[in-house]
Amino acid sequence: MSHTPYVADKPQPRETSDQLRARIPGWGADLDPADRPAVPRERYDPGASGARWAFPDRQEDAAGRERSIEHAIVTPVFGTSCPTKGVSGVVRRYAYRRFSEGRAAHWLLLMAADRVDVVESTLGSVMSRHPNNPAVESGLRSELTGHPVASRRGRSDWRHQVLDPAVVAGPWAAGALGAALGTRAVLRRLRGR
């Protein structure tokens, strides 16, 4: 008895091409790779994009813009959202200035800076006219209207979503605990003097 993976022939498809063509709209329309726009992957055709420049005009205010040290220059065009600032900005600039993209330290420092940024912005929001409102910003109101029990029935990831509050609130709780313990230690020392 022949068994497919141990003989030369490919398994026979369950449906013929004609059957599939009759059942599925457009079946085989791109059967010829020549009709596939991503084939071949590289097509040298500098005129195809609509660009009329060999090198683009350079956007102003590039001085001081952080860049990967794997780039020779700040690229001619760049995003200007959220310039670096504060302690997170110092960490981000250090990550860009010191480490290439090939170094884990580059990305881990940027991730750390992201967390510092959240702490800085949270502290800043307390003083602002628009303080953080985690209840609204987390979108939890959709739990009231989104059939939370029925939606999670038949899925395993609801158990893993239980981790989310711990992931989000855990660092804040740990920080608060650390601050409380630190404050208590300082107060005890002052009282002991």
């Binding site: 497919t4 457009g26 085989g28 009329r52 005009d57 700040v74 200007t80 953080n132 979108g139």
Partner: protein, 382 residues
């Protein structure tokens, strides 16, 4: 203007931001008429992407009307109804000249490992995105295109990433007539990849997920067979059995960084961010494809290392193909497919929300509440 802004992991809000301005002669300012939340936006929302700054506006799937153009713009004029690919690209660098628009070298000073993407952190260039009333669009003569009169807005916005990426992912699989194609993930991109696999002559298409309504959509929209990995003790063995123990010819990873299915990978990769995502789907792809087969990856992963079973890929002689989609290259052919009735992108849209409710939209999409598969976002006055 009103815009969505990131406040920290799992927290976003809508607030007033300054109007974007022309910063380069080939810029345009687009008034956003319709945007979408992409599965990859969730990686930012969950704090997985390095250099995601508080105050950043997400959104790389959007269409709108030209509000203002820079001095050198020739191909667009104020009032044009345009669709904007998620790639920011110059059209002239080494990579763009070869059609690799998603790998443009002239738009992202923050990294050489990725091109420019709207609203996708500073790792992707630091451009604010389109989940806002207005957005700056660089290289307006290159990226955006006027939406054909016959095309509906909801189809157009899905062409800016999700449909183009799914179609691209199927092409990366190098599918041949009669091939068995497995698609991991029945989110929007996976559904489009599964549907596209038929266009390329697949003989069988099998979609793997665990969310019942998404598997149902895979059956009805993508004409696919489905497997729920929650009900399957070992999805690799199940796929081997489905393929006469040979393995699939092509496996497409349409999941990316937040794959469920392996608790260790999920906790270290997704929750604790110790990897560039949880590569469970990619490992399943490597193990369930046949020897000499092709794995196509367009699920998004972060730039940090991930625990990928590379030895299996080597020993099986696999072809691994991947990239961010160069969107505009896909459009002419996709326009034909839509006009011919082969594809109806908006069939997967489940929710339409106002921009002001976007925090709830993100949570609903993230937690997959209320049968959410694809959410569109409508700015005030759009």
């Amino acid at each position: 203007m009103r815009a969505m802004v990131y406040r920290g992991p799992y927290r976003i809000r809508v607030e007033e931001k300054p109007m974007p301005r022309i910063e380069h002669p080939n810029d345009a300012i687009i008034q956003v008429k319709l945007a979408a939340i992409c599965g990859s936006d969730l990686h930012l929302y969950h704090g997985m992407m390095p250099d995601t700054r508080v105050g950043h506006t997400f959104g790389h799937e959007f269409i709108g009307v030209v509000h203002e153009v820079g001095g050198s713009v020739q191909n667009l004029k104020v009032g044009d109804r345009v669709m904007v690919p998620f790639n920011v690209y110059c059209g002239s660098c080494y990579f763009c000249a070869r059609g690799l628009y998603s790998n443009c070298h002239n738009v992202n000073p923050n990294a050489t490992a990725v091109g420019g993407i709207y609203g996708y952190s500073h790792t992707c260039g630091g451009y604010d995105g389109g989940q806002a009333e207005f957005v700056r669009v660089p290289f307006a003569d290159v990226g955006p295109a006027v939406i054909p009169d016959w095309m509906e807005d909801e189809d157009a916005v899905l062409l800016t990433d999700a449909l183009a990426t799914g179609y691209f992912g199927a092409q990366l699989g190098d599918i041949r007539e009669g091939d068995t194609v497995v698609v991991l993930g029945a989110g929007p991109v996976g559904l489009y990849a599964a549907r596209s696999a038929w266009l390329m002559g697949a003989g069988r298409v099998i979609v793997v997920d665990q969310v019942p309504e998404r598997l149902e959509k895979a059956r009805t929209f993508a004409y696919a067979e489905t497997i729920s990995f929650r009900e399957t003790p070992d999805v690799v063995v199940r796929l081997k059995k489905e393929t006469d123990y040979l393995g699939a010819d092509v496996v497409i990873d349409a999941v990316g960084a937040e794959a469920d299915g392996n608790l260790t990978q999920l906790v270290t990769g997704t929750k604790l961010k110790m990897q560039g995502g949880s590569p469970t789907a990619l490992n399943w792809a490597i193990d369930s494809v046949r020897k000499g087969g092709t794995v196509s990856v367009m699920g998004a992963y972060g730039p940090i290392f991930s625990a990928v079973k590379f030895g299996d890929a080597l020993n099986k002689g696999l072809t691994l193909r991947m990239n961010q989609c160069p969107v505009k290259r896909q459009w002419p052919r996709l326009f034909e497919h839509i006009r011919n009735g082969y594809l109806k992108p908006s069939d997967i849209v489940t929710h339409r929300i106002p921009l002001e409710h976007i925090a709830e939209g993100y949570h609903m999409f993230s937690a997959k509440l209320d049968g959410c598969i694809k959410t569109l976002v409508v700015p005030e006055g759009a």
